[in-house]
Symmetry: C2
Subunit: 455 residues, 2 copies
């Protein structure tokens, strides 16, 4: 009987995070202060983050030790399993070999706890009592609620309103773990009130929810802010995924030809591909393809501008060099709430700009079609975000069928879709729609980029 | 760092199911035909089940080989992990050592696929095209939908109406896997129509849904019926849980003093305890306590009568000797839909009657209190059914705190509560209620037991 799942023992868990900044051919452009537009210094970030996370953000060390207290919590669900998708391969009748690393068995159901637990730990260690954050689909908010309950921290979550309404059970999950969750735009902050005055029916966006969470954090001394994606320390924490996957692919006897993942802020997929991109950066695997998949309606990497832009709608968060659709862009309400961000992790953008990774955009209905095929073969009902990656995995496997090539495809499977069944209902009843790329809205939003000398 | 999770490799998966019937000191009383009230013969069951399952139902062989096609599917989520609940132990400040075997990482989120996959396989092998079944909370219906999609069988699920309304996403899960799901009582069968005529607002019961599924099966030659609990072949398939747990407890270096699980039909917990009860039957572990936990509002083992009764409301299913509250008993609409059955697996009842296992009943609110404590320590948000077992696990661990004993408690954790968040909302908002034991209704229901010579 062929081996279908590849396990690692607790003792094989990574004990360090991999920091790609040590291996970049050109350094990452610095983040800028939203007011002065000067390069950010660690003290600038101190009102938001604990110092150890700030130092990780700019560290040039190749490896950073994972504290034992974090390893102990990781060990409650990690290492996660690598699966060989034999059933899907058979259904597609493809010579491709499809593997997927499944992060959906974490308590919160996705990869997000990998950084949530780390961030809760460092904040607790610095004496912080309370965190604020934003969440799109709710994956991040619930994961941070999980992290905060373990380290006895209060948490307030600003949840993008369209997702808050679509996914009530994600909110309940946060509340079960003891957190407070409000829809964004909310009346609790100036950023929220301003938006509500302008458009009471505003569906919200990740950028706006960030503004609210940052503003809330600034109002209290015992409070820090926590970010679930985009920034470099989050990507760092996620590298446990790729480090484990490398060992597991070795157990399986293969090195991937193609790695596929979905990107919203970019942390899940970067967590998978960064340890592999190291091989490319060292010149060892020039042919390895790393495919970032995003929604056609929010195509940051494929249609965005590579420019300095604010991380949030209100212009309170740091300015970063990234592919962006403009920080005031409000994406259509696709079900993949986690992929509705106007920007993208600067590290992912930098590697894309340098040509180490590629990107493709896919329409919503086709992603659910792929997700249902995956569910009916591999069994797992996946998150709408993940369905984007599954779509491209299937497309690549079907290309192999045409060419007869037996490529090895590694899918970064970010989580289950148990809280997204309303989206499946829309798909199954034929009510799901595709959204055209909102070109005019992007043009308007790109006109609001900050003026940066030399940009 | 202490080991928190105990893994088995695919090669360590059980390759045989354990059949406790080979080791019983007294044989299981035979099931009776619902019309003739004579002992059932294999041909009597042939309209319902494939012959291989019928032979398993009555087999006296100690071990039955698991076909490779089933092992291959099991390997997509099995072996499941055994956890040490260090966080919970610490929160309780108990010297007890708490382990839990977690079945929630199956694609359907519970232990149910262990038998769903097996039943789909044997039916497919016998040329059957379509299955019918009932489901309470939806765990079983969705699991069988998963099994049927893998073996390309049609499926119609009759879902107890109170759960159908409380848990719309379980239905969507079934539909995502390609099954059809209707609320029971339904207008699709005579049993359903009769009940609707009598009480249009009837919340349904597992017993009635069984009647509907059996009646539907009888109407078509290409259709068989499938049962998610109670009968012996289902318990047999579930013994993969206990066999794995035994190996994993050995890895951990302990043998349990107490094993705890929730019981509705009894299959999850029997799947865990049967391989351990073998040790008791052989006289090796006389002090091992095996605690069946049930709801106070449906206390089959603790308040029921040990008598021959119908498996379903309409009296179409076989008659079995079991603890029963009466086949016409309609339990209150507790959230643990999977624990709302009037009877109990005859094997569990037989072992209870013989004194090898014990039982306790707990009220609803206390189970959610335990579930939230578990969520805030171990992270997992558990099914309402499982919360019953968690309640008693915590109670036993707190007793250890009083006595200073360092007992080893093994919890059979049957699944996650991702589709039960509405129940958590009721609990968190203080709206959850306890239901008193409906003594009068049970008395009425027990008056309708079938007349069996010698009973």
């Amino acid at each position: 009987m062929d081996t279908r799942r590849f396990f690692l023992e607790q003792k094989d868990m990574p004990i360090r995070w991999y920091n790609v900044q040590a291996d970049l051919p050109e350094p990452l452009p610095p983040m800028l202060h939203p007011m002065t537009k000067e390069p950010l210094t660690p003290p600038d970030l101190a009102p938001l983050f604990p110092m150890e996370l700030i130092m990780q953000e700019v560290s040039q060390e190749r490896y950073i030790d994972i504290p034992e207290a974090i390893q102990e919590i990781y060990a409650t669900w990690r290492p996660t399993v690598l699966h060989r998708a034999y059933n899907l391969e058979k259904a597609l009748d493809t010579p491709a070999k499809i593997f997927y690393k499944y992060e959906g068995t974490s308590q919160a159901g996705s990869h997000k706890p990998n950084t949530a637990v780390a961030q809760a730990y460092y904040n607790k260690k610095e004496g912080i009592k309370r965190l604020t954050t934003e969440t799109g689909a709710g994956q991040w908010g619930s994961s941070l609620a999980f992290g905060c309950t373990l380290f006895d921290l209060e948490l307030k979550v600003y949840m993008v309103k369209v997702s808050y309404n679509q996914k009530p059970y994600r909110r309940l999950m946060m509340e079960t773990w003891g957190a407070t969750c409000v829809p964004s735009p909310s009346p609790d902050t100036k950023a929220g009130r301003d938006m509500l005055a302008q458009d009471p029916d505003c569906p919200g966006s990740l950028g706006l929810a960030i503004s609210e969470a940052v503003e809330d954090c600034m109002m209290r001394d015992d409070t820090h802010y926590s970010l679930g994606s985009v920034v470099s320390h989050v990507l760092l924490h996620q590298t446990v995924i790729g480090q484990e996957a490398m060992k597991q692919m070795e157990m399986a006897g293969y090195y991937p030809d193609i790695i596929v993942g979905c990107v919203g802020g970019g942390s899940n997929f970067a967590g998978m591909f960064l340890p592999f991109v190291k091989d490319k950066l060292e010149g060892n695997k020039p042919d390895l393809r790393i495919i970032n998949v995003e929604p056609e309606s929010c195509p940051t990497l494929t249609k965005g501008l590579y420019a300095y832009d604010y991380g949030d709608v209100a212009g309170m968060a740091p300015i970063a060099k990234m592919f962006t659709l403009g920080h005031t862009f409000m994406p259509p309400p696709v079900h993949a709430g986690g992929l509705r961000y106007h920007g993208m992790a600067p590290l992912v953008c930098h590697l894309h700009k340098l040509g180490y990774v590629e990107a493709v955009a896919v329409p919503q209905i086709a992603t659910f079609e792929a997700g249902v095929q995956f569910a009916r073969t591999e069994g797992i009902i996946s998150a709408p975000e993940t369905n984007h990656a599954i779509r491209v995995t299937i497309d690549e496997a079907l290309k192999c069928k045409e060419t007869g090539e037996s490529k090895v495809i590694l899918l970064a499977h970010s989580g289950h879709g148990h809280f997204d069944m309303a989206a499946y209902e829309q798909y199954l009843s034929g009510k799901l729609v595709d959204y055209a790329y909102p070109e005019e809205k992007v043009k308007e939003a790109l006109a609001t980029l900050p003026q940066i000398p030399g940009q």
